[in-house]
């Protein structure tokens, strides 16, 4: 298992997670997350050769529904919390130059 210090570059991680942080926060989170990762390394010692992972503890399987159109919320309601008008969400340009 890779240790806590390899790969934990907070600036890179913050970018990957899309969580903007400043340099003060970077130092604080580096020390806090190192400590947390050191703790979770506890599971490294568990013998798991024959164990299957559990991703879902519910009893259901393959829940499907009929492929038919059903009522949803109105266009106005869907837009009410976003920025923009004329029936669209406005967002930053994807292809514009920064």
């Amino acid at each position: 298992m890779k240790t806590k210090t390899t790969g934990l570059k907070i600036s890179r991680l913050a970018k990957l997670a899309n969580v903007p942080i400043n340099s003060e926060e970077e130092k604080l989170y580096e020390s806090q997350l190192s400590k947390i990762l050191e703790y979770v390394d506890l599971i490294e010692s568990v013998n798991l050769i024959t164990t299957q992972p559990t991703y879902n503890v519910s009893a259901g399987k393959n829940i499907t529904r009929h492929d038919s159109v059903s009522k949803s919320i109105t266009h106005e309601k869907a837009l009410q919390n976003g920025k923009g008008n004329e029936g669209y969400f406005f967002t930053e340009g994807v292809f514009t130059e920064n």
Binding site: A14, A17, Y39, V40, S58, I63, T91
Partner: protein, 447 residues
């Protein structure tokens, strides 16, 4: 009628039927109490002055159409859901109205209530102390009689912990018992919505109301929970896990919890010591799986369709998103996320083996009673370690309930009862028998 606001849900329904007071008087009493106590307790983020039926307080990450939903975060300060959560649609059919949205740790991330962007809710037993989290406001509102009943969510203990610290009842249903549609997702394989109530019989009724599937949560079973109290405690086997009574548990809290278990024995139950050997890994497993799932669930906050931009996340939220992103990233995924999921299997199997020897498991909820606001906030890991007793039941998907069983220095202690998958009935029965023979649930904070 005196003290309308001290009545439980069942007592309120009965009194309304007998026309002892009207819903108008009921809401006036609760709203006036909210106005008087909220400056001290800060349990509501939004109050609905137009509440006109049996008042329900709802944790502010469960969608109520037309009412603000902040999730305790600056990002969603002005968000208004255009729909109701399934649990709200179900509950409103029973002469209920939402009196307000309650304070919480931001995006349900916390065990104390201190991670709210709107200031912490305060423990009504001592307002300088934490109420527990993340359903902090819901627990405070019930303990202080600011609503008849409330809803919270529990991912690793977030209903049970504030219920224990505030001296009330909180139930985390089995995973899949209640539809999660309309509750902001934290960790999708762990989240459950559940009742936060003044009594166990209230919790039973609310579970009936909110349970059952819909076309949105594909992990929710379709059948509703229905349960008539069976009231059989003679010969019932209560498992006592030695791992829950080890180092780290405050001796006074232990004394109260053991006294409660002795009470159950005096009422006819048998105790048997059980082992849950993988308990020591539960916190590590939880924080890896929960953070990973939460990092994915919070990716939706891009400031486009709703909400403001991501630099406004609070510190705990940023920490957990980064932790989860790390655990899911290339080169670390097998060692962290998958490994945690395998250890989760072992934890689930611990319970399955234990339930061959017992019918319910009893233990503490929290290692301590409520502590001063601000005391533990600068050590996130120390806060995570407080979740030791509540996390395992969440990882296994089994139901667990907290009810008041004592006090230390005037601060409440909770007894946790854990049941088999989909067996809320037995833990509710045992809890109700205990409640009927004791008076802890009748104690109210002096406010």
């Amino acid at each position: 009628m005196d003290n309308i606001t001290a009545l439980s849900l069942i007592e309120t329904i009965s009194a309304l039927k007998a026309k002892k007071f009207s819903t108008k008087e009921l809401n006036e009493s609760y709203l006036s109490r909210i106005k008087k106590l909220e400056p001290i307790l800060n349990s509501f983020i939004f109050v609905n002055e137009k509440s006109n039926k049996i008042p329900l307080a709802v944790k502010d990450l469960i969608a109520v159409q037309g009412m603000p939903m902040t999730c305790g975060s600056k990002i969603l300060e002005s968000y208004i859901p255009p729909y109701n959560a399934t649990v709200i649609d179900n509950i409103l059919k029973n002469n209920v109205s939402v009196i307000g949205k309650t304070n919480l740790d931001e995006f349900a991330m916390g065990s104390s209530g201190e991670n709210s962007a709107f200031g912490p809710a305060r423990n009504p037993w001592d307002p300088k102390k934490v109420p527990g989290g993340s359903s902090s406001g819901s627990a405070v509102a019930i303990a202080a009689d600011l609503a008849v009943f409330a809803l919270g969510t529990d991912t690793g203990g977030s209903i049970r912990q504030p219920a224990a610290l505030c001296g009330i009842v909180g139930l985390k249903p089995s995973y899949g018992r209640v539809s999660r549609y309309g509750a902001q997702a934290m960790a999708s394989s762990l989240d459950q919505i559940g009742p936060v109530t003044k009594t166990v019989s209230d919790a039973r009724l609310v579970l009936e109301w909110i349970s059952g599937g819909d076309n949105y949560d594909s992990n929710a079973i379709s059948e509703k929970f229905t349960n008539v109290r069976a009231a059989k405690i003679k010969g019932l086997r209560i498992g006592i896990p030695k791992e829950y009574f080890a180092e780290g548990l405050n001796p006074e809290v232990e004394k109260n919890v053991r006294a409660a278990i002795l009470k159950l024995e005096n009422l006819g139950a048998k105790t048997v010591e059980i082992n849950l050997p993988n308990t020591k890994y539960a916190i590590a497993v939880y924080y890896l799986i929960m953070s990973s799932e939460a990092s994915s669930n919070l990716a939706r906050y891009d400031g486009i369709r709703f909400g403001k931009t991501r630099e406004l996340f609070g510190p705990e939220t940023k920490r957990r998103i980064m932790l989860g992103t790390f655990a899911l990233s290339a080169g670390y995924y097998e060692d962290y996320f998958i490994k945690a999921a395998k250890v989760r299997t072992l934890i689930k199997q611990d319970f399955e083996k234990a339930f061959e020897k017992c019918d319910v498991i009893a233990g503490p909820v929290f290692p301590t009673v409520a502590w001063p606001i601000g005391e533990k906030i600068s050590d996130p890991l120390a806060m995570y370690l407080m979740d030791a007793y509540t996390i395992p039941a969440s990882l296994a998907g089994i139901p667990a309930l907290s009810l008041p069983c004592g006090q230390v220095g005037g601060l409440p202690v909770g007894l946790q009862l854990v049941g088999k998958y989909m067996d809320e009935a037995t833990i509710l029965d045992v809890a109700e028998i205990y409640e009927d023979s004791t008076n802890w649930h009748k104690k109210k904070p002096k406010l």
